[in-house]
Each structure stands twice: as structure tokens, then as C-alpha cells.
Symmetry: C2
Amino acid sequence: MTVKRRRMSRPLVIGGVTVGGGAPVVVQSMTKTDTRDVAATVRQIHSLEDTGCEMVRVAVPDDQAAEALAAIKRRVSIPVIADIHFDHLLALAALKAGVDGLRLNPGNISRRSHVAAVVQEAKPRGVPIRIGVNAGSLPKSAKIRASLPEQMVEAALGQIRLLESLDFDLIKISLKAFDVPDTIAAYQLMAKKAPYPLHLGITEAGLPRTGVVRSAVGIGVLLYHGLGDTIRVSLTGEPEDEVMAAYEILKSLNLRERGPTLVSCPTCGRCEVDLVSLAESVEGRLSTVDRSIKVAVMGCVVNGPGEARSADVGIACGKGRGAIFRKGEVVRTVEEKDFLESLMDEVARI
Amino acid sequence: MTVKRRRMSRPLVIGGVTVGGGAPVVVQSMTKTDTRDVAATVRQIHSLEDTGCEMVRVAVPDDQAAEALAAIKRRVSIPVIADIHFDHLLALAALKAGVDGLRLNPGNISRRSHVAAVVQEAKPRGVPIRIGVNAGSLPKSAKIRASLPEQMVEAALGQIRLLESLDFDLIKISLKAFDVPDTIAAYQLMAKKAPYPLHLGITEAGLPRTGVVRSAVGIGVLLYHGLGDTIRVSLTGEPEDEVMAAYEILKSLNLRERGPTLVSCPTCGRCEVDLVSLAESVEGRLSTVDRSIKVAVMGCVVNGPGEARSADVGIACGKGRGAIFRKGEVVRTVEEKDFLESLMDEVARI
């Protein structure tokens, strides 16, 4: 089973990757290096590519950063999106450097002449623009008596109308806040008002331990309701962790597959083996496996055999002995010292 | 803003703690020690209490474990729930030992005479029974042509009918599976069929990194829809981590408060300070603060001032200097070497 029927947004192609229109939800992240440091930025993007990142955003705070984009673009293979605030001239420089997408913040770039200048360069290149609204930087014109979700949607709609009036519709929208229910409400409202793809995220979600939870709840609820064409988990930490968390969210809703899935029980007073260590060892060994297989590591006879059976490969541990399952059949029972190797042998045989 | 209107379940009181009927969502966990080891189990329960655990479940795999419950009960202050499988006599022994609640698995205890014997002892004591259905241990009678959520709900309904026919209604229900959409569907179906409180969880969710995400998405979607009276995050790891993750899920939906909330930006090429270290230091220092305050640590001028303003206390960092905000007002600007201490000074002043 998976999520409710996905909203059909108008698809965009960003540097060869389709976002929206029913395409698989795209995982993206953002570099945290100084963009002017081309080597460091390229290294981080390559590392992100290895983790499964499908699109990367890069901050462009000044002219030197914009100039560095050309060199970065030449050395990476995933689409590069320039993150622009305050100064529309940086967007023009980024377009000249060959970026695949732009993010503009309507809270600080909204003057018609500025946006028109960007559209004039983006349109012939077929480069989409994300209207990236953040609760922390709403336009000064926001109606302060409206709710935060309404203010965010109004900020996006204002920019949508401006872009459409310039005959430009390569649009993607994000509406990020720290408050999860506000963010959910904003996206739900937005989805009814415009056909464009949605980029989901919870902003300033914090350090990994808390940020992952806030992101999983907020992005998870929206995806469950069929909204969202691309996601970015924002964490105060390594961007690779953002990508891994993004895939876990998508895997939990059966929206994407990526690598093995480890099913393991929480252990309890019923468990007679060191299951945590076994699960950690299995996770470590599975990290080199690319296939989307489901491996169960279970500590007792209550749910062990049941869960191990529904996995591709599994072990249900009892005292001193464990039953190895493969596609629903017990293939053998093994002694405790052989739990890890026997399980991995079965994984290798699939 | 918070979640949709909560479902009004029939409230239960378990060892003095109300579950359901609109009461705050109760956070629970389960010990992972050998229950027969009273000292280790009590130590773990005390540690869980410190982390905010409001109710604890303990596995009762044999007579010795059941006997240990009396000694455990005497030394802990949160309600203790006995987790029983296969043998209803262990439930009787647990009741005699004074437990506050029982969990029975209808997949392995469902014979009328057995359940009746348990009800006869639970009812005069006012001890509720959770009908704990797991996808990994469904009753053999489950209709294999039904969907998994339907099979799970059917297993619960069978046991509900049995308990009601014995004139017992101190009932709580859980329907846990590894598959998140299946689990969501099961609870949503169940909520329409019976008035009892729901205990939410995603079972066998795995090691913390992945298990937290699966739990946050599954439990988060259900809570967002107004379902759930108590939650348990299941992780292959320390139970204290389960409790911390549970609170993060509840905090993300504004359903519970617990301690400070750190808002911190993901950093990007725009950031000119070591924000990750600053955020980690602030998190460390906040770990001794009990109040529910919101502290923002922001790396640049884009969303920094906006987010820092909406927090109780915040810092928006620029190159070499940062602005300290308190309740929406800049109270001073400080040099980089003073970021941490100045921010913590403001926290202390609230």
C-alpha cells in the first residue's frame, strides 16, 4: 500500500530531471561550502551524488559565487540550482554561468522590472524558477492580520501572478516554515490555487536528532496526502544526512526505493541475544548492497517468524539458535555465533 | 496552529494516568532489560522517567518475570504495563503482582476461557487491557484474502467482541506493522469501528537512524489526523531514545511541550560562522533547561532576523558579529567570540 493518489502537478524538466506530473519524488539538498571555493563545493556535490542526491542547490551570495558556478557546473553531473536573495543581478549571472534552475525569494526580490529581467534570460534557456517562500523572510506587504499559512501563500501567489504576466510558467513553489502544522496548511492551501510542482521542506528544523523528526512529520504528512514533487530535508549538519533522511521518508511511504531496508525489533525483556549489535552489524554489511531488499532481524518468537517471513531474508533469534528465513521459508537454523554470516550468506544468494 | 480536531476516545485511567478522552497524548516506552533482573529493570525505568516517559511496558515471558513485577512496581512511580504473549496465566500472575495495565496479543491469546480468566482478575482491580495486534503475529484465523490493515482490524475486533461479551470495556487498541501506509490505514479503519483509545506505533522500525523516520512519518500522519491517545516509538536501541523521539514527534505537531526547542538553519554557502558548532553548543547548554522556550540560531541575514524574532531568544549571525533578539526585539549586537555566552545570558534572563 502507498499514499493517497498523488496530485498531478504541471511537470518541469530541470537539467534533465523531471519534477512533477507524477514523476518519482526528486531528492535534493544544498551545499554548505563556500560557493566561491569551487573544489570544496564540487567535492561536496560529488559526495551528495554518491548518497543519491538528484539535484543540488548552491547559495549565490555575491558575484564571485555566481562566477564560480560555471566551473562547478562543468564538473558535476546533477542539476545545479542557484539560490538567490536580494539581488536579481546575481540571478542573471547564475544563468550566464549555466545553472539549471533558479530559486528566488519573493520576500526580497519582487520588483517587476527585476523579475522581468530574470525571466528574459531564464525563458530562452528553459530554466525554471522556484518561488521559495520562507516564513522568516515574508514580503513586507504581507497582511499581518492573515494567518501565517495565508501570508505565505499570498506571497507565492503574488509572485506567480507576476511571472505569469511575464508569460513565464516554468514555476515550482515552496512554502517553508519552522512550524509543522503551519507548513502543512500552507502547502495544502497552495495546492488548490495553482498547478505548479511543489518543493517540500520544513525550514530551520534544527540539529539532526530533532530536525529529522520535524522534517519526517511535516514532509511525511504532505506526501501522504499526495502533495510534493521534490523534497529537501534541512538539517544543521552534513548535507549527506539530509539526503539519507529524505530517502527514509520516501521509503517509509513506499514512494521511492533505495538500497536495503532493515526491519529490526526494538528488543525487550524477552530477547535472549544481543540484537542491537547484530542489527548494527547487519546494517553495516548492507551498506555496500545496492538492491532494494528487505532484511529482518528479530529477537524472539512473538513477531520474529512473522516479520522474518514477510521480508526477503530474515532471522528470528531464540536462545542460542536462530531460524533463517528466505522469501517466507525457513531455510535453516543456525547457532548464535553464525547469525551474522548465515544471514549475510542468504542476502548474497538473492 | 496544531492538528485537526482530535478524535474523542473513551478515556481510561492506567495507574493514575489518563489515556484518551482528549487528555494529552501519553508517551510510553518498554524496558529492554531482563525483567527478572529487578535492579537493572528498575534502573532503566528510573532513567526513562527522567527522560519524560509517562508509562512503561515490561515483557513477562515467564513466571519469574511475573514475580519480579511486584518488586519492580514498589520501586518505580510511573504506571507499569505487563506485556503478555502465549500464556494467559502470566497475565494472572502480573495482575497479582500489582501491574497497572496489561497488553495481550490476540494473535496468541484469544481462547474465551483464557481471556475470561484474565478479565475476572483485571476487572475488580480496574486494570485496563490493551489489545495489541502486530502484523507479524496475526491470529491463524485471519482471512488471508483481506488486506493487511483489514486483517489487523479484524483481529482487534474479534478480541473487542470477546471482552465486551465478558462485560469488560477498559480497552485500548494498537495495530502495529512495519509498513507505514498499512499501519495508518489500519488505525484509520479501527477508529471508525470502536470508541476505545488508540496506542500508536510502527513496529520493528529498525535502528534509530531509520526507525525514527518511519515512526515520525507513521505516528505523525495519524496524530495529524487527530488519532492517537498514547504513542510508543520502537527503536532497536536505547529506550530513552524512543522517549526523546516521541516528544519530538509530539512537539513538531504542537501537541505537547517539553523543554526548549532549538530552531537552527541548515547553513549554506551564505553562512560566515561555524553555525553547526554553535548550534551544538547551544543544544548542549539547553539540555539542562526545563522550560519550553524557543531558541533560534541562524546563520545569515536572509531568514535569520525573521526567525530569530519569532523565537523567545535568538541570534542572527553575520560576518564577525551577531544580533541577539529577545521576544522580537534586538537587544544588542555581539562579537563572534561572545555568540554562545551572550545567547545563553538572554536565555537565563527569560
